[in-house]
């Protein structure tokens, strides 16, 4: 019995068996994984051992930049959701933003509560959304003479500040929470086309549910909440995405989706999410 207590001594049969099997398994699997499997490539020459090991570890030669000349890069936006961008947005100063926002009140209303249907309500809009749109206007990725000039007058920090201001204004777009209580009629069996598109999408056309990004319920970074927005504004943006006049959606998802929507569907979506002119005057006039 005592002999077997010496777990790490090699003259002991069980430890010898255990460590021997471990070494054998490790050696065989490493040789097969790095010496055999990683050497052969589908469309390229067989690698030498050193490159095969690197490839097996995930740092292979095929990660180096390609030698051929690259075509000019066209991007829908200059924003990428990097930690640096997010830190910049998070550093927004709402107090400074309120001073900048005085320039916006003419169209977007006091406190971002727009009363004119062609201008979107900004109150309660997510900081990242406002920051990205301002950057896109500044770089010309989203085209508008007025907003282009406005945005060019702002620095990146100004954009973050004004975004922080509008995001915290009450009475506009709702925060995307509190809509998670299950309700019937949100699947593909729903007959109302607007509701069906919002909650279930249209899989045959490759259209995901709107609510996955724009709420109610779902949320994706960079996508605005739509409830409480002007219905006319929503319909017009869908039309512009469909015709490619607005093209600052990073992965072209809005262009791909809007292109496939019928006019009735766009109106149904506007009706689902948005508020109409008659409602807006009553609901959005600041006290």
């Amino acid at each position: 019995m005592r002999r077997d207590r010496e777990t790490f001594k090699v003259h002991n049969p069980w430890p010898t068996i255990g460590w021997g099997m471990l070494a054998g398994v490790a050696a065989v699997s490493a040789v097969l994984g790095f010496g055999v499997l990683s050497r052969y490539q589908e469309n390229g020459p067989t690698l030498d051992l050193w490159n095969a090991i690197c490839r097996g570890l995930g740092i292979g030669a095929d990660t180096a930049p390609a030698a051929a000349a690259q075509p000019t890069l066209h991007t829908p936006s200059q924003i990428a959701w990097t930690p640096a961008t997010l830190d910049q947005i998070a550093s927004g100063n709402a107090e400074h933003g309120s001073a900048i926002a005085m320039n916006c009140a003419g169209c977007h209303g006091n406190g971002g509560l727009s009363v004119q249907t062609q201008f979107p309500t900004l109150a309660g809009m997510d900081t990242a959304v406002i920051y990205k749109q301002l950057d896109d206007y500044r770089s010309g990725k989203r085209v508008s003479q007025v907003m282009g000039a406005m945005a060019q007058a702002l620095s990146a920090q100004d954009s973050a500040d004004v975004a922080a201001y509008f995001a915290t204004q009450p009475g506009g777009l709702p925060a995307l929470s509190g809509y998670r209580i299950p309700k019937s009629g949100r699947s593909l069996r729903e007959s109302d086309p607007g509701k069906r598109l919002v909650y279930a999408g249209a899989p045959q056309r490759g259209i995901p549910p709107c609510s996955a990004c724009h709420g109610p319920g779902g949320f994706k970074l960079g996508a605005p909440a739509l409830q409480g927005q002007h219905a006319t504004y929503i319909e017009r943006q869908l039309g512009e995405f469909a015709q490619g006049r607005r093209a600052n959606d990073i992965f072209e998802q809005m262009r791909a989706i809007a292109k496939q929507l019928t006019e009735e569907e766009m109106r149904a979506l506007g009706a689902f999410y948005g508020i109409r002119d008659s409602q807006s005057a009553a609901a959005l006039t600041p006290p």
């Binding site: 777990t7 069980w14 699997s29 994984g33 570890l57 997510d126 019937s184 949100r186 549910p209």
Partner: protein, 546 residues
Amino acid sequence: MQNTSRLALYHYWVAFATFLPAVVLGAWQMLMRSPLPAPLDDPSAYYVSVTLHGSVMAYVVTTFFAMGFGYAVTATSLERPIRGGAAAWIGFAICLLGTAIVAVIVLAGRASVLYTFYPPLLASAWYYLGALLLFGGSMIWVVLMIYNMAAWKRDNPGKPVPLPMFAITATALLWAWSASGTIIELLGLLLPAALGLTTQIDAGLARTLFSVTLHSIVYFWLMPAYIAFYTLVPQAAGGRLYSDMMGRLTFIMFLVFSLPVGMHHLFADPEHGAGLKFIQSFLTFFVALPTLLTVFSICASLEIAGRARGGRGLLGWIAGLPWKEPMVLAVGLSLVMLGLGGFGGLINMSYAMNSMIHNTSWVTAHFHLIFGGAVVIMYFAIAYEMWPRITGKPLRSKTLACVQLWLWFVGMIVTTIPWHITGLMGQPRRVAVFDYRDPFVASMGPLVVVSVVGGVIMLISAIMLIVILVRSQLGERRLEAPLRYALALNPPKTVPASLNGFALWNAVLAVLMLFAYGYPIGQFFVLKSKVPAYEVTRPSTVVGAR
């Protein structure tokens, strides 16, 4: 013994009381995915339901069952009261609190991240806190199992630890190793992000850490079933265990081989190199060794029993077995499902073949057959065996118990065979709604409807289980037979220390884990691969305002 009995009974009741609602959710999910109309047809409700069904079945039912089983086995196999009873109750309370938090926060729709909670999707911090309490509370159980075995060894120097105690300690160690991955992920990545202390999260690192848990947890679920195979089944069949030594080797091999294999869940992930994935694929095949050893041992033990009962000829011993005994029936049905599911699993873990069925309903079918089928049916049988011993109140009807087991088996087969086929056709898993107007999707419709029928059969079976247990509990007390474990054909007088303890095997496992996971985890401390996390229910205005 009184305290231990109550301890085991409370754990069992939590396990089965949460089991029934989780089966109801499962049945509704199948209806939701099918072409048939489902009540409450809301896709977001589906993800709430999947999260709760998975969390309860994978973490709550199994952990509570294994803990209760562990306490019962410790007291009965060592034939003395369990040491550290107070700590055990504290562990029970912590786990129960964690379970309650998880249930409430998932039902509130704040944690629809599925039970694998892969970032950058982020749930409410309460969900992770609940999971942490559940995992952490069960570590008290782990310590108690090791402590009880060590104390017994100290009091009985030179004697072999009884096989059930040895096996349950292996289970506890396996769980400690397994849970370490998720506990580190929760403490190091998910909770800081959910609490807003960090805005970015390393999704690759989180998935890799979770993979440490992801496959070995399955063996933690399996272990009570295997312990029953070795120590209860031969006794119930009226025979003897074929080999005690083989049992010890099996449990040691499960401990060593079930851990460095989890990356076979990440074959389609970009963050690891092909060579590293292959190593864990290769290591996964070694888990077949203890499984095949077990199948051999159990068949041999059953043959001993069958021949002792008068079975003759090459296969006559099978007919000689007492098939009206729930434990014997369960092991027969369990081995059939283990076989079917196991062959499906060979496809999953093969580096190349996996890509045919990765993330399809084939995978769902595989783990439902193995866990929901082979393992859970043994949980039922263990409950039927232990309930009368703990409460002193026998089952009212063994026939009803056998019918329940048959229904569960039939339901599971009817559910999972169509899933295997639709998986091969390419039906993705974890999808709430399918557009059955599409001709290709429509061709899967009839198969999905068949699987719903299986789900209903299982729901009936689960209700019967609770009815049988409640009927037994409410019955009159007239049985005082202590639980007896199967004796080996040649009971061991002495065993080598290496097969009577785990020091060597823990050391071997530590080196093997370093070999399999050292580079895959270490690389993240060099790579800059963090991405923004996003909560499922909250916009980032909160981040901005902060």
